[in-house]
Symmetry: C5
Subunit: 310 residues, 5 copies
């Protein structure tokens, strides 16, 4: 997530330089061909690039709208996971250990009654780290920090680790129920939260694994190349060699818009415009540990170069 609306000039160049070079090259070729080859044989009416512009503006706009929707939906899903995570911690804690729990938290020794809920709360942090890892496609192992060794072994043989962790949560919930540590009503409330975590996880996977229809991205690019080629030719007579610069300028507007959309399209990618999963997961971690009166609360995630948060 980029933080500063006054983009550094360096970043702007970073974002556009590749496309700029291609466009300038294209405009030069188009200008040369128009002036030295086509001029005498063909005259392209100005209506052509104008008419094409309408359709292309739609394409670019359509891509941007859908990309933004994917990005915002991804953010909303994680927002939901944040909220439910807080509900999870407080529900597991008080419903299984009773209202007087608070005063006993983190005494040096705790009996088995406390062991299960604590395990479930910490395992949830592990679930979040594992989900982040699978969405980012990184190989980080930090999800193991909050996971007991037995659990680590259990999940190792699963393709989908976050899902396997939810299996364990359901198992422990059933255990609480069998030990009568929670009654049927609390069981319903906690089960509902697990279903919602499963839902949130699956929604993230949907966004990650569903490629945006590639024909839209591909043809948009092709159409923009066509547009600036034609435009440069159309204005070559009137503007001379400056038509190269002007063709590039128009292409710049269309292409940068298109690139902006692309940067939001895969919101879990880990590029500067992506959802800041690191910061979100850390926030939940801090909230949870504070509720558990854990004295070692980590610091919030810092911005990279003061520019963006991952």
């Amino acid at each position: 997530m980029l933080l500063n609306p006054n983009l550094k000039f360096a970043r702007m160049i970073l974002i556009t330089w590749k496309v700029d070079l291609i466009m300038i090259a294209l405009c030069i070729v188009a200008y040369w061909v128009e002036v030295h080859v086509l001029k005498e044989y063909v005259h392209i009416p100005a209506a052509i690039p104008t008419l094409m512009g309408t359709a292309i503006a739609f394409f670019v706009g359509f891509n941007n709208n859908q990309a933004y929707d994917r990005w915002w939906e991804a953010r909303t899903i994680w927002g939901g996971i944040v909220n439910d995570s807080r509900s999870w911690t407080r529900s597991v804690l008080f419903y299984s250990l009773g209202a007087q729990t608070d005063s006993k938290l983190f005494s040096d020794r705790f009996d088995e009654a406390q062991a299960i809920p604590y395990r479930m709360i910490k395992r949830h942090l592990s679930f979040l780290y594992a989900l982040k890892r699978s969405l980012r496609g990184s190989g980080e192992e930090d999800y193991k920090t909050y996971l007991e060794e037995a659990d680590q072994k259990t999940v190792a043989r699963f393709t989908n680790i976050p899902s396997a962790l939810l299996d364990l949560q359901n198992q422990d919930l059933q255990l609480l129920r069998e030990r009568n540590q929670v009654d049927g009503y609390a069981f319903l409330a906690l089960n509902d939260l697990i279903v919602r975590f499963s839902d949130g996880m699956g929604k993230c996977e949907r966004i990650k694994t569903t490629v945006f229809p590639v024909t839209y991205i591909y043809f948009t690019r092709v159409f923009i190349w066509m547009l600036i080629t034609l435009l440069t030719m159309v204005i070559a007579d009137e503007a001379g060699a400056w038509s190269i610069a002007l063709g590039w300028l128009v292409g710049f507007v269309f292409h940068v818009t298109h690139i902006n959309g692309l940067s939001l399209m895969n919101p879990f990618d880990g590029n500067p415009a992506s959802i800041s999963l690191n910061a979100i997961v850390r926030t939940i971690e801090i909230n949870t540990l504070e509720t558990l009166k854990n004295p070692q609360v980590p610091a919030p995630v810092e911005a990279v170069n003061g520019e963006y948060i991952l």
Copy 2:
């Protein structure tokens, strides 16, 4: 689902060749008529194709938006089915067999208490394969793999096999309840999941059986023919025979956009842009079998030609 934003040139031709030929033929005819017949009698002002372009751009855009929405809704429904399927497996397992189940899984012999939940979990895989089959309209019989013979006979006389399988799930849930293998609270949670599967199934059927209003598709095509005919005539004087190529170029932009929309309109069709049901169902299958500690987990679905996943 197409995978690679750098479409192979062959696929691009495959997508557009039919429409290209028609458009070029149309432009040639329009050019010939304009030059040899109409020229002396009628002069078409350039404002006409421009004005028409606005309305047509809306039509094409409208179709594309609605088509994308159908496609994304279809994907979202299946995403929901994935999530609920995982919840189903873990809920049936632990709520009916108890928290210690895990250690006993897939021993060589199991008593009747285990038989029912196992049947319900496997029957759910069958439900997914049957649903996929009915949406794709294929005749595949692979839904029988996970279905006991008695069930196969029962569902044979039904028009709608996935729905019949859900009937059986409800029946077994009632059985669990009568045997007191699940209590009322777990009953509620499991019943809720069956209702959601019924919902997901019905939503898919709605998308499959509801034809997109055909007047939109039909008139869009008619309008694009009208546009490029008029455009070719309008620019014939100025651009000469090149107006054929330019008319085609503008038509190409409009028509390809329109075709892109059409390819998303029926997302269960089985064309390269469709929802990759094979891959999705296989993913659930793998997750489920891993939870059941089944040693024979199938491999994920491979991309066809490295181009798309069905």
Copy 3:
């Protein structure tokens, strides 16, 4: 619901002939007035119709978007009713009669325990037919087919028959509960379905009884007449008598789009583009009767002239 994207030419004429005649008459008058009256006194700049075109394109687009949304929402509501209807049949059946019910279905005689659930399931089919009747505004009495005589008498004095039928369903659900044929949990699940039917019914009524803001429809028509009048006058000099045809052509594009929207605006009307309620209700009927092992399952609804399904 129209089925075939290749509209028959006859239907295309059927859809547009009225508007075509009006537009051609209007263009002739505009042309005559321009040439014989206004020519010497007033010159209308071409920027005027172009500017107006932008605003009108928005109007037409806006109407179409909202009309499509009404149509798709209507379809979605009925899709939801389909899904919940299936859940209703299987839930009533198994939760009130037990898991072994299936083998006993449709024996020649059944005791009172079976009578109530059967009545509830059949009354639901009656509810669907009554809802369809009230939405279509037809006087069909086919909702009585599945309704016991006592019920027929009871609902006769109600303004809103589908709602009265739901009253009876609630009454029977309470009866099941009093007879201890369903426990509290199944009661909750069934009550939830009745609430959803009430919801679906009310949503349909909302769409049916809420007139689309008429100012939009009215002024769109007025604006299109204004546009083609001005356009014909603007191009009269350049295009001569052909300006009548060209004015009509542009009007055709705008007006047909507008008409397409209108045909979706009242999705329960019973015109060829409406929601195919007959087919949907029949589908539920078939599914329900198959679940009840009823040997007399009716055939699906046929397309009218192979063109559309009502």
Copy 4:
């Protein structure tokens, strides 16, 4: 809610006359200034109004979309209240009085067991009238018709009467529960409906109390004045005094669209385009009284002048 798409000419004038006068005055001034003052000093290129037109068309379109969404959301909320009201009547009745209630309804004397549910059902009608009153900002006292005197006194000291009525509903629901007239499951179902009424009420208040961002409305008007001023000046040379009429014509299209949006923006206002709360509340009243076998059912609300329903 306006009923007839063929607006009476009188209404069309009623809607637009104010704006028409202002625009004509503005165009006359612009024309006079252009011809007598600016002509020699400044020439405004035609590209200026065209470019401005694009941005303004967006503004107007944006306002209309959001206004329509507010209007449709308001209608949807009330649609939900209708559905839940029916569920409320039948649930309160049968769940608290039992399945045999129907035959005993409206006997001349009823015991206390019947008194509470009857009070709750009638108080709900009172809630609807009170909510309508508070949304319309009218001082009507008709909400007292269905309210016992004790209740009337209780709610008198509250700022928000509909909310106070829901307080009383919750109190009575608790009373039913304490008297064991409803069990826990029916309690949950009824409590859920009260929460939904609270939700519906709050959503209406949100729409009523949230002013649409006024900068949009203000600047849209300013921009349209700017557009037609410039346009009249641009075409003054070409069209002469007719440019006043043409400027007005273009302004008419933009402004009427804008006004259409404004009329939907505050859907509880009580203007002819508003949500027809009178008719909706009456419909619920009729349905409820019929269910209670009340012989005095009022007639549906009539259209005002056959033009619109309030």
Copy 5:
């Protein structure tokens, strides 16, 4: 929330003066450069700013749509919190203290049975003030007004105070359950409300902490500068020094639209266009205290200068 659609002229200047100055400066420079430097070397065709206008109009429109959606979503979330807050007060009161509570409210002394629900209701007001404080980023301590000292100490060590307050609510709910002051069904209803408060809080935080993709804001500004620079140059010949004014005028339309969007983008900021949290929280406070028969009900929030409500 601004109240008056007739903006004071002073506010209009306040909103736009900065951008106006920059634009006028830019136009002057562009005009000077065109006339004194570029005129002889380069001629910019009018098609360039027109084509750019299309893409930029999309950008501005896109930003506005998304900004409005954020603003309206924020308002909707708080609307939901209002509704649930009323449900909370009445549910806690009657479900834990019984239906006869009303008559005993605010007697001078109350036993412990009353103490807990009263604490929960007041703590909810505290939650609202704390949430407002954290969203506005203000340092106000008014959330302590309704908070017992013990609670004040408990929450002091938390980063996220509203979340810590919800922890306490869950603890007290568990206490009520342990004391059998609420049964399982009421427990479910109250737990559900706490989950919804957690949800609402998290949704607000999501909107607050998620920066709108800055590339959109940045490039929109850059593109508008580019557009008016080019436009001024294009019309310099035709309009002379007036092209500075005309360039500014077009820029004014685009930029003001853009600024309008920006003012809605961060709806919790505390600028005049923001969500009026003060007023909303006060409304809930008034409703709650009236229900508790508290004689000291504060007055509603007043508008600032009669212009806007915070």
